[in-house]
Amino acid sequence: MRSSTASRRYLYTGGILLSIVLAFFILGLFWTPYGINETDAASKFLAPCAEHIFGTDNLGRDVFSRCLVAARYTLLVSFTGVAYALVIGTLAGLIAGYNGGIIDKIIMIFSNGIMCFPGILLALVAVAVFGPSLFNVIWALGLVFAPTFARVYRTSTIELLGRDYILQAKLMGIHPLRIMFVHILPNLMSQVLPAVIIGLANMTLFESGMSYLGLGVQPPAASYGKMLSDAQSYMVSAPWLIIFPTLMRVCYILGLYFISEWVRTSVKGGSK
């Protein structure tokens, strides 16, 4: 492990940014100062003050409470979506890379096919067909992200296939599935980790985009994308409605990028 000052700086910056989001998430699980859908006609458009530190929106709902709860959905969608993509991508990539030939061709044509379309469009189509819900958003985004992981796994698998220890395993007559998952898979972790982190960040952006369009997390649940889309008419008169949800997302995504940068520079990428 080689960790220079510069890469440690990445770790610290990313860590601080992410822990802000994490603190919001944990706090939001147990306590919010106000109910997230509690409206108060008397205190509409309050600028940040002592009672409402992030201010209130057009219905008098507390923005801080909504930010606390929205962190939950951002983390949920990004983590489950990436996990979903990772499982599909791993299976497809390993099988394609290990078997080669016609199986590889079919899987890769299919995954390249998915990659040809803009990801958000595919996800939108899926949600439009199956109806907008959190679950649909997750699997649709997972499917869109899977080819990225499949590619990473496939290339690295092909590279490892020529290694003597894999030849040795084949000679010993070990079952191909065992070779794939026990012999090859652990050696791919160093390539996959950065892909996972970047995937988390991209997934969040996609989710916000979809919520903004009204196809993601559905009301009454709060999500950053939804909060932005609700606030756009009041952008000039009540800028805090835009600023705080945006800041939260910036913290999360920037934090992830910094951490992935740290992984890239300090953890020895690839197997020698």
Partner: protein, 522 residues
């Protein structure tokens, strides 16, 4: 001359390297030596003795983790340690040329030979035509008959030996006065090594270049170097003319190094595995040919890599397979092992075949411990054992191959090349094979590890009675270990039979060429 005939003087050089925790570890200890103008100075020693570090320190290519603590490196009367990195870079290529070990990674694969080489010239002269002339002249000097064609080729279309020639051409392009060659031949086969060594020798004589030749190939050093220095733990412990060092080593360490590197069968106690008269045939191949398949859209190659190969191996015997690189030895081995499907012919095997491969870096899975590897091999062979039985069995196997119980929990990166190769052999033994096929099992190791692996394989053959098929460049080892030998050339068997008969009275040109190159092998 102000530097009294010495082109390079290293005085009391101390060098430290930071380890993982950032603590400095002394690599070079009070190193003092000098290179005279126009001589070839050999530098030998075990791996990890600081040979490469010396080369890097002189050329100024040390990483940020290494620091020169004290001492001077005086090159042509100037102290290099005091110079700025910029000034040192300027010297590189112009006055000091460097050739590295691995020719496959030293050329940019996306550029032709010419553009690779012109990179060196472009920094110093703007005249393109003149630069091109110079490159072609230099390619001719390093022994290419058709420099125009070679200049247009991409590195992947050159063999290892050709690439090394191109690199030498690059290093000598600006007429440097010192050439540092760090194991320039260790990744090449003997016939190619010999021609590279001769080339370096000629360049030294004709162009008056002094060469610092780092190697653990003692025979090459003996035949080519004027003087030799022996290095141990970062210091020079012995230095004299090569004849004297090799003939009458002054220190015990040098004597031991020489003995080990000779791989003397008697000193190692190696004997040949001979099959009994009525021993059954355990492995036979009948007219097999094989080729590498091409891609989905392209038809397969029509020219096979190996063709019409027939061989027979009897139980308990040890057979050597030799031939220059690219003759199809590895393809044959892979076909026999079943990793490549033969185009035609049949392979009959009785019992299990295990294999030991060449590269100690990739012989073990980096994600798992030695215990995992052994368990995997045990389970693959279908035997069941209780936890205790298994542990004792593993300890016994490890002891047999010269490792100990503490290695069970080690990961491959925590072991040396020799130890890894031993662990790979242990894995083979766990499978209780009837035949072990070893593809160059020791060529990537240093002299002491080589000796122990050879001894180990020979013991497995003679004591356990396991049949061996050994692929090697090293004729001396083959001669010591094998009762039969098969010589291959261009995918065909050109000669086969009793080791003594074939090697003492070669019938084919291939065998004769291999025997001729022998004097330069380690």
């Amino acid at each position: 001359m102000s530097y009294k005939g010495h082109i390079l003087e290293v005085k009391n050089l101390c060098l430290s390297l930071c380890n993982a925790d950032g603590a400095p570890v002394r690599i070079l200890n009070d190193l003092t030596f000098s290179v005279r103008s126009g001589e070839i100075l050999g530098l030998i020693g075990d791996s990890g003795s600081g040979k490469t570090m010396t080369a890097l320190a002189i050329s100024g290519l040390l990483s940020d983790f290494a620091q020169a603590d004290s001492g001077e490196i005086i090159f042509e009367g100037e102290d290099l340690v005091k110079k700025s990195p910029r000034e040192r870079r300027r010297l590189l290529g112009e006055k000091i040329g460097v050739i590295f070990q691995d020719p496959s990674s030293a050329l940019d694969p996306l550029q032709t030979v010419e553009s690779n080489l012109s990179e060196i010239i472009s920094l110093r002269s703007k005249n393109k035509e003149e630069g091109r002339e110079r490159i072609l002249r230099m390619l001719k000097t390093v022994g290419f008959e058709n420099p125009e064609q070679i200049a247009k080729r991409y590195p992947h279309r050159l063999s290892g030996g050709q690439r090394q020639r191109v690199l030498i051409a690059g290093a000598a392009l600006m007429n440097p006065s010192l050439l540092i060659a760090d194991e320039p031949t260790s990744s090449l086969d003997t016939v190619t090594s010999m021609s590279i060594m001769q080339l370096l020798h000629e360049m030294c004589q004709e162009m008056g270049i002094s060469i610092l030749f780092i190697s653990h190939n003692l025979n090459a050093v003996r035949n080519f170097c004027d003087r030799v220095m022996v290095m141990k733990e970062g210091a020079i412990i012995d230095s004299d003319t090569s004849w004297d060092i090799m003939g009458q080593p002054k220190s015990a360490f040098t004597a031991e190094l020489l003995l080990k590197s000779k791989l003397d069968p008697k000193a190692l106690g190696i004997s040949r595995g001979v099959a009994q008269e009525d021993a059954p045939v355990v492995l036979s191949a009948e007219g097999i040919s094989a080729c590498y398949k091409n891609t989905f859209f392209k038809k397969a190659h029509t020219t096979p890599v190996i063709s019409g190969i027939s061989l027979e191996v009897k139980e308990g015997e040890s057979v050597g397979l030799i031939g220059s690189s690219g003759c199809g030895k590895t393809t044959l081995v892979k076909t026999i092992l079943g990793l490549i499907k033969p185009e035609s012919g049949t392979i009959t095997k009785s019992g299990k075949i295990a294999a030991v491969f060449q590269d100690p870096v990739s012989s073990l899975n980096p994600a798992h411990t030695v215990r995992w590897h052994l368990t995997e091999a045990l389970e693959a062979s279908g035997r069941k054992m209780s936890e205790d039985e298994r542990k004792n069995y593993f300890l016994k196997i490890l002891e047999d191959v010269g490792l100990s119980g503490k290695h069970l929990t080690r990961f491959p990166h925590q072991m040396s090349g020799g130890q890894r190769q031993k662990a790979a052999i242990a894995m083979c033994l766990v499978q209780e094979p009837s035949v072990i096929i070893a593809d160059e099992p020791f060529s990537a190791l240093d002299a002491s590890s080589q000796a122990s692996i050879i001894k180990l394989l020979s013991d497995i053959n003679t004591k356990n009675g396991t049949t061996m098929l050994i692929v090697s460049h090293n004729l001396r080892v083959i001669k010591a270990m094998c009762s039969k030998v098969i010589v291959m050339d261009k995918g065909k068997i050109v000669e086969a039979g009793d080791t003594d008969t074939v090697l003492n009275d070669p019938k084919s040109d291939t065998t004769a060429a291999l025997l001729k190159a022998r004097m330069y092998e380690a």
